[in-house]
């Protein structure tokens, strides 16, 4: 089984993701440059779209990457129910593609923000949060456009269908605007699609995958992702 880690021109977290996945038994991650197109995704069982500045974020974060041919392959795989994980710029690309609803707007401060945050994991089980439902984890964020927004309709669907696995919170799990680093609607840090196999999240689980880095809370999410791929 193979997990494809995509790289667009300007992606810069692919090695961090490969390294974190390589620590997990049976993951078998491979790097797939986007220029390989659909051929690059043959025989792939899951996809990770890592963070970075695909195409420099020059037009709009994730916009140019989202119309590259290889994304058709991502769409096919997602429709097949295979696991797809978009981290940071990856999340932006998934929303531009329409695989996840809503859009990531510029942060409320209109500045890039890098800091450690706490996330409250929803009680409701999802493919990616098995075993850690309801817990509070500490992971870093690093983005300039992480302000999640969607229409009232979409917002209701997300809530009713329990598709918000991650929300920004305090160290003790309080969901308050004071702990929202970027102005995201309802403190949303990550969402899943209706099928439950596509996750987009702004924080970086791969950067919280080894204790020496300050936290290994992100590892569980990646482990669940790998397990779901098998």
């Amino acid at each position: 089984m193979t997990i494809a880690v995509l790289r667009f021109p300007g992606t810069n977290n692919e090695n961090d993701v490969l390294r974190a996945l390589s620590m997990i038994d049976g993951a078998n991650p491979i790097l797939v440059p986007s220029r390989k197109g659909l051929a690059g995704l043959e025989e792939v069982d899951a996809i990770v779209i890592p963070g970075g500045f695909s195409y420099g974020d020059y037009l709009r974060a994730g916009a140019v990457a989202s119309v590259e041919t290889i994304t058709e392959g991502v769409r096919d795989l997602a429709e097949d129910g295979k696991p797809v994980l978009g981290i940071c710029n990856g999340f932006q690309i998934l929303t531009e593609m329409g695989l996840l609803p809503g859009v990531l707007l510029p942060n409320k401060s209109a500045r890039f923000i890098c800091k450690w945050v706490y996330l409250k994991i929803s009680d409701h089980p999802t493919m990616f949060t098995e075993g850690i439902e309801g817990s509070i984890i500490r992971v870093p964020i690093a983005h300039a456009e992480g302000n999640y927004y969607c229409s009232e309709e979409e917002r209701e669907s997300l809530r009713d269908e329990l598709r918000i696995p991650f929300q920004y919170c305090s160290a003790s799990g309080e969901l308050d605007l004071a702990f929202n680093p970027n102005g995201s609607l309802d403190n949303i840090a990550g969402i899943i699609n209706q099928k439950g196999n596509v996750l987009g999240m702004m924080p970086h689980p791969e950067r919280a995958s080894r204790p020496v880095l300050g936290s290994s809370d992100g590892l569980a999410i990646l482990e669940n992702f790998v397990r779901a791929t098998k």
Binding site: G102, L105, P106, N107, A110, Y149
Partner: protein, 322 residues
């Protein structure tokens, strides 16, 4: 063949072979002063038809959409069937004709840049001059289309002027009519001939219908002479003109725009006026090395929602640079 329209000097007939085609027939008549002065010269129709044939072909070669399909007979052109726009578009490089009468300007004054004017097609009111604003309020042509008509006129102005310049001929002004094909594309319709343009030679002598209007010479001989000259010019030596479209992308009202908010606070800190709101957007200036056509604008509309803007949170509008 069914007659669709009888004009002062041309007739529009339905093409029996295709419902999407018409035949434009050039009669030997010539009129001036809104039909006041009338004459008929043998061979005039053929010359006017042949010149339209040549010039439409030339403009099509440069990438400008027209209704022209091909020449059928000496005085007939096969053209696409269009719904004619209710306004005529005039482009002037120098003051002449009705412009001088309107403002008392001396004939021949060079304009610093080409002037585009619109006239309503209305016999009863003698095709009066009309402003873009009035066109919009009267619902004659929508804003977007009018901008396009203006840009095509300027494009045609460039390509005709450059061609004529090779033979030391001056393009003083010209009139275009436009139509909309069944597919919705906007194309140049009617004719392009000395009936609808003013061309002067290097000594400012008229080589167009003015010789008839002002009784200055032999119409047919003049038309033939100017056509001979034009045919000597080399279309391939007229280089492409750079044309620009701008796509302006703005955040939708109601959507939070942090960059705009931060800018507003910064302006306030610097003591700038009482600002109500600031919203920050983007402008894409897309240059083409060829004329802009309806097709291109349609494709741009797709690009606007697919790539250049995010319809969830942004609005966009297109401006054609003139």
């Amino acid at each position: 063949m069914t007659l669709i329209n009888e004009g002062k000097v041309k007739r529009v007939l339905q093409d029996p072979n295709s419902s999407e085609r018409v035949i434009i027939e050039f009669t030997d008549k010539v009129t001036a002063g809104d039909g006041e002065k009338k004459e008929e010269f043998t061979g005039k129709g053929a010359v006017a038809c042949e010149m339209s044939n040549y010039l439409f072909g030339y403009l099509e070669g440069k990438g400008i959409d027209t209704h022209y399909v091909k020449k059928l007979t000496d005085n007939q052109l096969l053209c696409k069937k269009v719904t004619i726009y209710p306004v005529e578009v005039v482009c002037r490089n120098k003051a002449a004709g009705s412009f001088c009468r309107r403002y008392g300007t001396k004939k021949g004054i060079e304009f610093s840049e080409p002037l585009v004017e619109f006239f309503v097609k209305d016999d009863a009111f003698h095709d009066p001059l009309i402003t873009a604003g009035a066109i919009n309020r009267l619902g004659l042509v929508n804003r977007q289309d009018l901008e396009f008509l203006r840009s095509v006129a300027l494009s045609v102005n460039y390509y005709l002027r450059e061609l004529l310049q090779q033979r030391k001929l001056i393009l003083v002004d010209f009139k275009l009519e436009f139509g909309r094909t069944e597919k919705g594309y906007i194309v140049i319709a009617d004719e392009i001939s000395p009936d609808s343009m003013r061309i002067w030679d290097s000594s400012s002598t008229s080589m167009d219908k003015d010789v008839f209007r002002e009784d200055k010479g032999d119409l047919i001989a003049t038309y033939q002479k100017v056509f001979e000259e034009i045919k000597k010019a080399k279309p391939q030596d007229v280089g492409p003109r750079i044309e620009r479209m701008q796509v302006i992308v703005e955040p939708k009202s109601g959507i939070k725009n942090p960059p705009g908010e931060v800018t507003k606070k910064a302006l306030e800190r610097l003591g700038f006026a009482d600002v109500h709101e600031v919203r920050m957007g983007k402008i894409f200036t897309i240059s083409l090395k060829r004329p802009i056509t309806s097709e291109i604008l349609n494709q741009l509309a797709i690009m606007n929602v697919k790539l250049l803007s995010n319809p969830i949170s942004e609005n966009h509008k297109v401006r054609i640079e003139s």
